[in-house]
Symmetry: C2
Subunit: 433 residues, 2 copies
Amino acid sequence: MALVVVGGVAAGLSAAARARRIDPRLEIVVLERGPAISYGACGLPYFVDGRIREIRQLMGYTPEYFRRERNIEVRTGARVTSVSHARREVTLESGGRLRYDHLVIATGARCDVAGFAGADQPHVFTLQTLEDGARMRQFLSEKRPRSAVVIGAGYIGLEVADALRRNGLQVTVLERSAHVLGRDDAAFTAAVQRQLEAHGVEFASGVEAREIEADRVGDVRCDMVVVAAGFKPNVELASEAGVATGRTGAIRTDERMQTNLNGVFAAGDCAEATHVVTGRPAYIPLGTTANKMGRIAGANAAGKRERFGGVAGTSIVSVFGMGFAVTGLSAAQARAEGFSPVSARIEANSKPGYFDGRRTTVELTADRSTGRLLGGSAIGEDGAAGRINVIAAALHARLRVEDFEQLDLAYSPPFAPVWDPLLIAAQQLVKEL
Amino acid sequence: MALVVVGGVAAGLSAAARARRIDPRLEIVVLERGPAISYGACGLPYFVDGRIREIRQLMGYTPEYFRRERNIEVRTGARVTSVSHARREVTLESGGRLRYDHLVIATGARCDVAGFAGADQPHVFTLQTLEDGARMRQFLSEKRPRSAVVIGAGYIGLEVADALRRNGLQVTVLERSAHVLGRDDAAFTAAVQRQLEAHGVEFASGVEAREIEADRVGDVRCDMVVVAAGFKPNVELASEAGVATGRTGAIRTDERMQTNLNGVFAAGDCAEATHVVTGRPAYIPLGTTANKMGRIAGANAAGKRERFGGVAGTSIVSVFGMGFAVTGLSAAQARAEGFSPVSARIEANSKPGYFDGRRTTVELTADRSTGRLLGGSAIGEDGAAGRINVIAAALHARLRVEDFEQLDLAYSPPFAPVWDPLLIAAQQLVKEL
């Protein structure tokens, strides 16, 4: 039996490694079109800001490691040009062909700069690969730019804005929609904007920036531009092979991560997954999800029957030391999905006042008719990750806010106040339901 | 209608405040035998170690505040000597009597020094009240003791050991049982012991220390002694009034926090609560639980019908900057409760290696036959509180470890690694089930 995996970063390597653990005799080949595998793309902003000194700190396992320790063949610079599922065969740009019994498509996503006129200029960057990071760092040290425009206020956009500001640049973030992080939540967006502005970063939403000139984007003068928008799943190869995409534009999968073609799985930033709150397909490309999906795809491709538990859209971004975290649906998203959302938003200390507690904002949203929690957010310098994870667990467990209010959470002055902000938010929401 | 609350700290005041919010016309009297109400006893170790400068930082609301802002009468120095439920009446030491329609008993617990010979010497301390804290601080600054014995390795014992060591004392902790924090868990105890010893605190378990001499406890020379053992619920008043206690020795309550006497509620450190894992009564006196129980007792005493969701035994203690957190049952406790526990214990980084992650230990225990999570622990300098709270939420929701493994937890390098230690532990446990 042979397993071919297209893509050698998070999802692809997770799939290959898991398949190997399950079936020691499976023939496994991973095909990566780029020069590197297994890199920590999520660390790139911290390489740009200088907190990570050497780009090799972001490199994970090597092809040699996989060959030697896992008996997995990993080829870099191996671009797959077509898949014939009828013949169970992939064709490489080099002309070579590979037979498979099972195929895992983990082709990732891209920041599609094609929609931006002038994106091919040397002062325009994206931040997806190690080469992107190295090129940006080199530009910063050699050209000493004094100002930057970041197009897009998703995770990468916000992290890059933070990183460039720490390099001393004047930074402006331009976001096409009315909100940040793809989260339709005005209060959350306002909080991010306040934090950006408090640290000298300009933020403008509702700005369509399609033309990049040599020294400006629209009205904003700048010495460099980072495109952190236009994120698109790489589905072309799959589509041409007859793999169906879903309403989100990413590859449709079942709960085993199998596509419409029997024996062909998809995982990571190219694939949809089921949302735990809506029960419907969602496209929320994130590194942690990619690894999880890959693990399930690899298990099933190796003959197991495992189910992916779905995504809640849990994520967190650090903006100048403040954690901005979300999970599940915002009130507006919940309404669009047919729920009757009710929200409560509170501010409270992360610890007792006498123990240097920091202001923490928690918002919880529940469905009026059932009381079921639908989503939430947590903002703070301290404990935002832990708090959003408790809400995420509650979403997976389909807890009602009345149950959530009863959670026995840890209390001790160095860690948390006697009433955790999560519980204060839940009490407030119970009153409003 | 009149509500009388016996006890004016966490549970009692929560009950009174909640009852007032529900019924603006209820007559509410809180009787506190001590001189102070509403104080942050959990902060006392940090007053002893000097991080809290002024004891007034631990003082909360005053009786005047309650009278003025909440229309609640709070009497300090008001010791109740008996309760006649037949007459719906409490008698005060002063001879006065008070009629009630509903009664909330929130008499707390005490550190019972009676079992320790020599406990009345001036160099022997407990740490429960503001006066205890003030007396200990005064002793430290005036007598400049160079060594201390702490009897008991519960939360207070460990926090006091930390605090005294920070004052420069040579500290020895003597614990009667084989484990710390009342948690029958050898690996957890060993981790606490390592942390104590790494910071110069001696720890000996299995040591019965019943006699306190002027300059020693058993073989250990010392200039001062802190008794942080013999914690007992104050049930005498209730028992004499006909209120039943449970198998734990604390006051038996139903899910509304009502005792066996109709209209008499109990809450806080004097009362049992239902354990969310075992479904049986448990006695786990903690500040956060006391507040929650008080809130429910107050609501029901004011005519609502509210249910207390029970306790999971979630708690955390800081020992020299390291968080030691537990929730639910240890494997040994689970076995004693009739489960077939399987545990997995892992060590992993709290963040990516390139982002200054710290070693984190997570243990999860599940029931072999059902896969249901029964408990867990988290140890680390970073994120232990957030992680134990996710496990606690899973216990409330009765998640199986297979579900827990699927949780969509937040990932971003400044906060967490791509595979959170919680998920690594869950994967390990799934393999072992």
